[in-house]
Structures are given as C-alpha cells and as structure tokens.
Symmetry: C2
Amino acid sequence: MSALILALFSAIICCSVTEKPSNVSSPNIIIMLMDDMGWGDLGVFGQPAKETPNLDAMAAQGMLLPNFYTANPLCSPSRASLLTGRLPVRNGFYTTNAHARNAYTPQEIVGGISEDEILLPQLLKKKGYINKIVGKWHLGHRPQYLPLKHGFDEWFGAPNCHFGPYNSNSTPNIPVYNNSEMVGRYYEEFKINKETGESNLTQIYLKEALDFINRQTQSQRPFFLYWAPDATHAPVYASKRFLGKSQRGWYGDAVMELDDSVGQILSRLKSLGVDKNTLVFFTSDNGAALVSGPNQGGSNGPFLCGKQTTFEGGMREPAIAWWPGYIQEGTVNFQLANVMDLFTTSLALAGISPPDDRILDGLDLTPVLRGSQAPRTLQNRPIFYYRGNELMAVRLGQYKAHYWTWSNSWEELKKGINFCPGQEVPGVTTHEQKEHTMQPIIFHLGRDPGEKYPISVLTKEYQDVLSRITPVVLQHQKTLVPGYPQLNMCDVAVMNWAPAGCEKLGKCLKVPKSDPKKCDWPH
Amino acid sequence: MSALILALFSAIICCSVTEKPSNVSSPNIIIMLMDDMGWGDLGVFGQPAKETPNLDAMAAQGMLLPNFYTANPLCSPSRASLLTGRLPVRNGFYTTNAHARNAYTPQEIVGGISEDEILLPQLLKKKGYINKIVGKWHLGHRPQYLPLKHGFDEWFGAPNCHFGPYNSNSTPNIPVYNNSEMVGRYYEEFKINKETGESNLTQIYLKEALDFINRQTQSQRPFFLYWAPDATHAPVYASKRFLGKSQRGWYGDAVMELDDSVGQILSRLKSLGVDKNTLVFFTSDNGAALVSGPNQGGSNGPFLCGKQTTFEGGMREPAIAWWPGYIQEGTVNFQLANVMDLFTTSLALAGISPPDDRILDGLDLTPVLRGSQAPRTLQNRPIFYYRGNELMAVRLGQYKAHYWTWSNSWEELKKGINFCPGQEVPGVTTHEQKEHTMQPIIFHLGRDPGEKYPISVLTKEYQDVLSRITPVVLQHQKTLVPGYPQLNMCDVAVMNWAPAGCEKLGKCLKVPKSDPKKCDWPH
C-alpha cells in the first residue's frame, strides 16, 4: 500500500471519529496518578539521570505545572481528595486518634469512602462517560467501599498497597480485582519478587489501559480512565526488560517502565486519532518516600523532606497536562493548583455542574489549560497542608506559613524512620510537634524553595505577608465542617480474607474473630 | 527592499563568510563561565521557577552534560584550571598554609598564575586565534599576572571579585580594565547599588562580547571568547529591566539577565552566519554559594551542600555544549567531564597539539560532542575533588569515595557561616576534618545524588567499588608533582592602589608599606 493510500485511509478514519460533534463537548479524561513518585524524579523537573524521555516529551507537547500539589502527604487521603474534589478533613479521610497524624487504608481499616461523598465517575456517568480505574484504589477495601460501588464501570487492580508477601494466617495477601471479583492475590497469582525487584504488573496495568482506550474509542463513547500503577511504591518493581537499565537502581527501573508506559498510552491516543479529544493529566499521590531511599525511594528535587510531611517535599507533585490542540505545547504555568482541581476541571470539561450542596476545594483549571487569564479566585487561591484534622501550613502566592511543624517523633527517628534524611532545618524539621500559630514560620518559596531560610519576624515583609495570610486562614477555618473520620478504627476481621470471587478460585481464607480497636498512627 | 532581495543579500554574506575553508578547521570557541551559579539554577536542570528560557533552548539545540564538574569548589583555582587544563595542585592555585583549605585571589594576594603555566589563549594564538576575556579574571591582579601577559589580546573586566564598596584608605575599590589599563573602579565609575541590587554591568559585558564577535566575524579571523560575567556572585546585581522580574529575588533577576544575554549572543552568532562554526560552552566556576542564600545565592538542585565543599553541590556544574551542525540537537550525555577538558577539547578543535612536557588533567571531549563512541580513557576517567593539596574525594563511574570529609569548622559555623544550610548528613557533613583514607565513605550517585545514604562497608558492592577505586587513586598520587603554591602569601601593599592607567584617570592611591604575611584561609 502506498503512502498516499495510507494517508487517505488515515483521513477517513480521522473523519469518521471526529464526525460526532457530541464527543468534542465530552472529551476523554485520563488521570495518571503515580505512587510515591517525587517532583524531582522527572528529567524535565531536574532528575540528573534524565531517564524519562516520554514524560519530558509529554511536557514539551503540553503544559508543565511546577506549583501543583496533592491534598495530603499520604496515599489514601490524597486519592480520596482527587475523586471527591474535597480536602480529606471534609471527605472523612483522616483520623482523630491522636493530634496531627497521617492515616491511610491498610487492610485492617474499618472505614472507607462514605456513601455521602460524590465521586467524579458518578458525575461523569450522567454525561455518558464510561469510567475505569486501573491499579490502586485505596479508598477502603470492604465491599461497600469498592470502586464499582462508587461510579466506576470497570476496575483492574487492588484495593490496598502491594505490601507482602503475607502468610495467609495472621495476614492475607492483597487481592487483585477484575471488576467486582478478585482474580488472584499479589505474590501468589500476581508475582512480585522482592529479591530481584521483578514483576510484570506495570505491563498488565498498561495493557488494561490500552485495551480500555481501544474499546471506548471504537464504541465512540467518552471515557474517564484513572490509571494508578503502584510500581514506585516500596517494594518497588519493574519487569525484566527494565530491570538494571536505569542509573538509579530499582526505583529508577520502575520509573523508566512507567515512563515507557506513558509514552505508549499517548502514542495510542494519537494512532487512534483521539489525542485532540483527550485531556491527559500526569501527577503523583504524594512526595517521594525518602525513608525508602536510595534504592526504593525517589527524589523531591530541591524541596524539603518527603512523604508524610507538610514540607514541600511531601506535597509538591510533578504535574503535566497534555491535550494537543487545546493546550499550547511547551508551556509552563505557575498557577497554584492541586489534585482536587482535577475533579472540578473534569466536570467543567464534561459540561457537568458541580454539586452545590457541599464545599468543594477543587477549582476549575480550564482557563489555565487554555492559557487565558485566570479569574481572581484562581489567582489568589491558597494551598492548605493538613496532617489529620490539623492545618499545618498554608501557601499563598510565593509565601508559605507553617502553623505547626513536625517531621516525626524522636521515638520513630530512633527506630531509623526518617522522613528528612540528610536534611535538618533547626526549628523547622522538628521532632516534637511544635505550635507556631501565634507566630507562623514563613518562607518565600521562590527565593527559597527548600524552606531553609525563615523570614525574620522583625521584617516588614513578614508582617505584610502575615496580614494577608491570616484572614485566609480564619475564613477557611470558620467555614470548615469536618466529615466523619473514617480512619480511626481497625479490626483484624475486616482484612481481605474472603473477597468476592474467592470461592471460584478456591482462595477464601478463614475470617478471624472481630477485635475492633483504635488504629495506631505514629506519624 | 523586498524579502527576496534580503534573502539574496544574506546568501552573499553567507557565502563570503564560508568561502574560506581555513575557518572550518579553526572553529570559534566561546566559553561562558558563570560565577557561583549552581547546577539547579537552570530550568532544564530543575529550577522550579523555570526562568532560563534561553539556556533551556540552548540545551534543546545542543547537548546537556549532567555529569560536568569544576576542578575546585572555589573561583580562582577553578578558573586557573580551565585555562591551564591542569588541577590546581599542579598549576599552583592552592595553599599549604593549613590542611585542606580553599584559597583564592583577594586583592591582598601576592601570587598569581605562574609564567611556567601555558594558558589556552597562548596556544590558540599560534593558529591565528584572537583571544578576548570579558569579565572576571581572578588569576592574580599584579601586573605580571594580568590576562594580556598570558595570551589574551583583549580584556574588558576586573582582576578580582566585585566586593565593595571600599573606602580607598585601608582598601581600594577593584579596578575595571579595558585591555592593559584601568578605566574605572567598581562602585565608582562602574556602579553597583547594594541597597537596590541595581547595576548595568552585565549589559556592559554583553556589549563587549557582541562587539568582539562582530569584529572578529568581519575580519574573518577565528576567535576565542572567554565570557565571565560575575552578576550571580554576591553582591548579586541586575540592571533595571530585570530587577524584580524573577520569582527568585535578586539572585533570580541576575540569572534572568544572564540568560537573556546568552540568548542574545547565540542569536548574534546565527544572524552573522557563524553559528555552524562556533562551539559555545556554558558552565559555572563552582557550586552555588548557599551561604549567600536565599536572596543572593543559587541552587544546587538535588545535590549536597555548595561552594567551598567537595560534596556534589560544591563541584557539579550546569553544562551545555552548543554547536549547530556539529553537536546533535537535544542530546544528553552522561560522560564524566570537567572544566579542564575545555582546554584540551579546544586545542583538539583548533588542531593544536597539547604541551607534552607536563601532565594535563583535561581530556579531549570531541568524541562526546560528536556523539561517537568515547575512547576507554574517557569512559573510565575519574573525577578528583581537592581542597588545597588534599585529595578529599574521587568519583569513578557512578561511585564516589570520600577520603576526607569537612564542611567547615565549628568556629565558622558559630559565626553563621554554613555551607550546607538545612542539610546535615551524620558522619558526612562533618565540622571537624575527618579522615577516612583507610575506609572511605562511598556513595552511588545514580541512586543517591544527594550523598545521603553511605553504602555499608559490609556489602560486596562496597568491596568491589573500593578495589576498583584504590588503584586509580594510588596511580594519581604516585605521579603527582605539585606546583609551587601561589596562594600562601598576602600583603596589603599589593592591593589595587595604583593599577596601570590610574594616572590618566587621576585615580592612583597611595601604596602602603609592605607587610607580607601568610594568608588566613579558614575553610
């Protein structure tokens, strides 16, 4: 077949796809959420090894957002916020067991995503979207909390973190689901070799994504794909083809495989002719887990500390928006933004009104993506940094005020758990919970992205900033209605002993006696 | 004049330039050496503010070298090494006054670049090159040490750092030279406003560069331009147009102005049609001076500590090579390289044999620039990290072994001088000089660019690495012949009281009585 004929064929395919104008008002949405990947892990954000050519190209074809944040320095609350558009303290993904603690959803957790929360796929569904999650769910693993109960049409992945291997006596291995039934367990049917770092799980998650994109494109229905692979969360893994290929050890190998997968997904969108009708947003759930470094942890670039902390290293995320023809290629936008904005932005793109019966923390980023003037609410928007239900810090413009500081306790530090290895800023990375509500520690993140040089309280600059930040904080706290805390209770009986589908596989385990107690959240 | 005629004219100009084939074998060479600019200050190396569009474009059109080093964590020795192709311990730019101290050329220094050293412009001259230095010299300010005595045909700039203002009684202000005579002094004819950060010096240094390029292109003689502006060395400055324009304070303003200047120089090469006959190499003299941060200091990205130290932050430098048509655009090369290679590479490009009566530390990088297979000597080359005449550390491949560690003394630290603010790696960023020669501290810089996780001495990896690094160190030390230390003696009488040309300007000051003593090098 000559090139000319090929071109003609392409033109026909192209036109048959773009014929339906309804699709243009309902663009496909792909959110790629990495696990524990840091701001500094991408070449385009300064990783010295420069091993992310596909992500760097994605940035060159799209928009880089250097001031993008998660909603929490830990996985579950961050993911709950992405899908609800609300801070964890509102959607219930927090604990009140102790002051200012991070909490998540290990398999002994009793709670999960409340039925009162409205998730993004539930809303998209109204406009005919088909919704799929691939990878880690993390909003509760008990039956009522699973993705297909909360708006997703399809799911391939696991409800919890891929920790293990477990013995199936005191702890079951984490199940992997295909839609509403388990199809195996990590370390059993879905192997991860902790000695060699080998696993082909990213390839499986890639195939699930590509197949879904193919199917939805063929059926000409708009889709929402939430792609959440977990290869960069310890224990990190990569498939054989990538093992040992990076300059950065196993972690770098995992990053290379994910980068390659991103490249394949973008290529597929192009070859299917739907790239001009699809927003792809790449980010991560929280900062790199420095505690797992160097072989199993990433980089937060110039930022202070990492996962679990409310310093920049814990919550500033790599972020790239890609949508050829809609987003101007090669742009950098300094708008302060966060994962909750992806909720509101997706609704705006799909032409769906956001729920008006609750406070949403996400804002509509479409003016930013289009490159037009951002409205005032967006320009002046603060970023809130929480641990549990305590507001630890606030960013407004270039300034960040810390009202509470804490890295972790001396007790944990003595055990070797260090969220700021090699970093110690006196009075800032404190090992006691230090209150500064009367006189917050303020940094200028432009001059000092590493939060190393507090602005003197004696300066006019300090007083000016404080007088602008204080009313923002007061307004936020006055209107805050905390949700019911879902992450307080743990029970060995709720673990993944007998997930739906276990009977068919002969993989049901005996459920032990219920023994509910307060979960212990040391950080 | 119509566009067509313009195009014809351009073609004529173009052809008259490229007619002389002799020029092709003698490419122009431009080395842009920044002052205290850090690896992390460029957008392409991860600066969050992304305010270096011209340098980022230069990288996109050329080659990025993420593993490029200086020869010393301080200005004068680093610059002496660039121009001699030899380590400071060989070319004499070091001190033996105390153990493992950095030294430089303040205006009370007695020594300078030895007549026995052969400088790059002296060699290039043999092939008809016209050589100019614009900006900071820093190889000694006494008459016998000045640039025009060591191979440069032209100079516009200063012999020392732009510290000041001085009172002209106990200390004179630093002179600015045009060739062999002073034309004024910093803070007097050449203003720097320390209250506002304003100075138009970078604009002057830019104009000097552009004028030189214009003249040499017109005369069709190959040229070497060593462009060494000092705006990012504290006290940092920028001209009015750039002040307050960056997100990063005065330092960022200075970076933006330098970035703009780089863009103008590259544009000029293109518009003159000599871009395909000119190697431009951008780098810095040492790591960012964190001690001057945040308003007057830069960023070393993910690396440990900064200027004055032999950690990566002190000696890893931003580096971009640009030569359209010769260097493949958009490439990243991980070759370990350093400023001394610029000496040897320049000679190779000009077809000049390097001196064979002395040991050169620089290697020929032309295979790297061309993108061809690097010879073994280049592939296996070590990087040496010195303080004074002490070998502090060695890098071989991805591994770095520290034989001595020291950030600075407790005494200096108590004065508030901190080369590692916000960074403290136990046993590594030591405040005593710690010897580890029997059992070096070893890092894997791929997994751990921040030098935060020493490899356990109990591992096979440690033993393997040590067995490879040890013979490299022994061989280096066996053949090392230190030069005469030029940075031991200081004398108030040698300061810039009455530089050549001062009579014409009526700016000669009275020379005080000679009082030579050992210089005090606290770091």
